[in-house]
Amino acid sequence: MRALAAMLLVAAAGAPAATLARLADTAAAEILRAADGRPVDLAPFEDRTGAGTVAADLQSLVAARLEGHLAAAGPGPHVTVSSSVAQAGARLVWSARVVDESGALVDLVSASTAWDPGLLPLVPGPGGAGAEAVDVLERATTPPIEGRIVALAFAGDERLLVLFDDALALYRRDGLALRLESRRELPGPLVPVRFPGGLLVATERESACWALTSRSPRAVLFSMEGSRLVPTHQADALPWPRAPAGVRFRPGTNLLDVALAGVEAPLLALEPDEGWVVGPEGTIARVAAPPGPGPSATPRRAGPAIALLWPGMLAAAGPEAPGEHDRILLLPDGENGTAGSLPVDGSVRALAARRHGRGALLAAAIEDARGGFRVGLFSLAERR
């Protein structure tokens, strides 16, 4: 557990800092070009990102790069640079007005930078409470990722499989970043599905995983050969424990067709280890539930993503129809209520968990209002 937390606690996050540094390099070069040899007076940067100090941090980096070119206060030929920093999609954009000592416009300049899709920074967020029986040791989130994520699965402690509606990608945690190791397109023809679903089943011992989306005609078995994903086998349905005929998607939907004892299809979500399922109305059930305290008086509900954190503790997307935010529910087995929830900005579309003693690393695919997807990682520990 400590190792997992330590991965997220590395203080120096190279990737985001490098992004700002890249932007500062370009901005400084543009300023020097516009100044054309004149000393530069750098006015305070205006922050239009909606956050507090990105502009101030960028200003420090730009000022450092302009050392030797900055103007001392007072008269004399110089240019004044007024800057603002804004977020546009997944890009940080710096724009500036350069005026001379009389206030006449010299130039308008702009620079921007985007995240490297092959190295996604994991930006630490607040950890702390949010759950009665679970401690959130750390949490981190990537910037928006190109593509629509439909399923997630861990492949060992360090690797995360990300199933998009048209491809499978393998990322490795590299300090405070996810580094893309391999990406393979799913075999076509892919059919258009307005709200696609996906299912991933990783098998660590075999270093392989089955992948199926509602856009692809067949389930595909990928083997992980070193850092490469290699498609090795296809099947009409995705093999599933206790379901001899496997799992298929109902055509054109995100609903799963599967024959499981005591469960009526279609389903929104499935969990292979303890047999948890989510029905189309969000009701949680369990395949061949073992004897316990009996059925819940009030059926518990969840959204279209579940993952088993550790025996007896399920993580699930919140069931609420629309709201400003979604949440990840923590649902103990055999109890009616929840053990707490983890709020997230956006809707939870996929979950995966990696057990580790009495703790777990939880990965969540979160869709924002503009349709962008991010991956959030939560380091969780059972509270004793």
Binding site: S60, S95, R97, S112, T142, G323
Partner: protein, 464 residues
Amino acid sequence: MRHEGRVLAVLGVVLCAASAARPALGPRYGGELRIAVAEMPATLDPAAPRGTAERLLAFLVHEPVLGVDDDGRPRPGLAQSWSSAADGREWTLRLGPATFHDGSPLDSADAARSLRRFLRTGSTAAAHLARTLEGGDEFRGGGTGALPGLATPDETRIVLRFRAPMALPLAALASPAAAVVSSRGAGAGPFAPTTPVSARGLSAVAFGRHVRGRPFVDVVRLVAPGPDRGPGDPGGADVSASSPPLPPAAGTLMLVLDPGVPAFADGRTRALVAASVDRAQLVRRFLPGGEPADVLVSSLLLPPWPAAASPAPAGPASLSGRITLRVGSDVPASASQRVVAHLAALGAEVQATAVPAAVAATESGQARLVLWYPEVPEPGLALEELAAIADSREAREALAAADLERNADRRRAGLLRAEEALRASDILVPLARLPLRLGPRPGVHGLRATAAGILVVEDAWIEP
């Protein structure tokens, strides 16, 4: 180290700042969505939209070859992929499998025919495309039927050849006027009309073979005001002006002053008018959900920059004579009354006349108060529209230079120069940014509005 930690923490806030979330449980199929609109367009034919209903219809029944994303880059429409050659002068678009509402297959000949029609429309995006495409201007002028810049080597490929490499040569194809229709007039959008458009409204059903999949709701009905329903009466509609407006605030409430009339011939007089409106108060008191606008183009298209402040007008301190102000029908009445009051306070005798939104947007007048949305949500094309309204040579030159700039950052800087050149003439006076004056009732989800003011219905769904 502490400094870097602060950078990361703030970046975290930035990255997590999603404005609103999509429904958690996911959409449901079925149901009927009734949308109350203030006025109906005359036709379903693809055209550059000039009013709310036209913008709504734009992508309800029609589909363009390509769309544009937040950065103005192409995103899939009927074409699922694209590639360039000849140093960016030649672009090949590949159509995905698609059919029209009448069941006939859609191929490159249909797309080419629709693009040729588009090039001869009054759309600003069409004029831009014609100017940049090989033989485009000659074809648009009607002097020839030949269009060497457009070819269809097979049923799925469309090849566009441009006069010069450009940063975003395909953005014009995202115009609603460029939508693809069959030779018999059928569209390929997410909903297929089942009734002709009329003053009473329009009905359309979900199109099961739409390129992005079947929409969630079964039926969409546009309901126009009638004897038993005024413009502000939702009349049982699921989407109407009586619900909270749908963000983002992307429409620009703008005063257009004609420098050809004596009252506004003097730039100092126009500057006086531009400086006279207290934008913050206008928004606070009369435009709920709006934002004061200091620049012409919304920050959804051009990220904010330290824009030039309007200089204090040095010249006449008052207006004189009689001014006719044409007010678009989609401009909130309270806002127009406030603007009239501002002009009257300067000494003018103002006669305000309500006109249809399309008339206010397209026909010149002494002064016009319009709610403007770009035809294509791409800043270069948006500024070109405004440059055409203001007839600004300086802005056109800045835009032409930006058009040829393939470095995105330098192009953006060029667009900022064009915006400032446009605004400096005080012919176009931005006042406020407004959200779409339509919103869903509780229980209706998935509706969204674009930066072009288009209500996107195809992802809407209704809670059972």
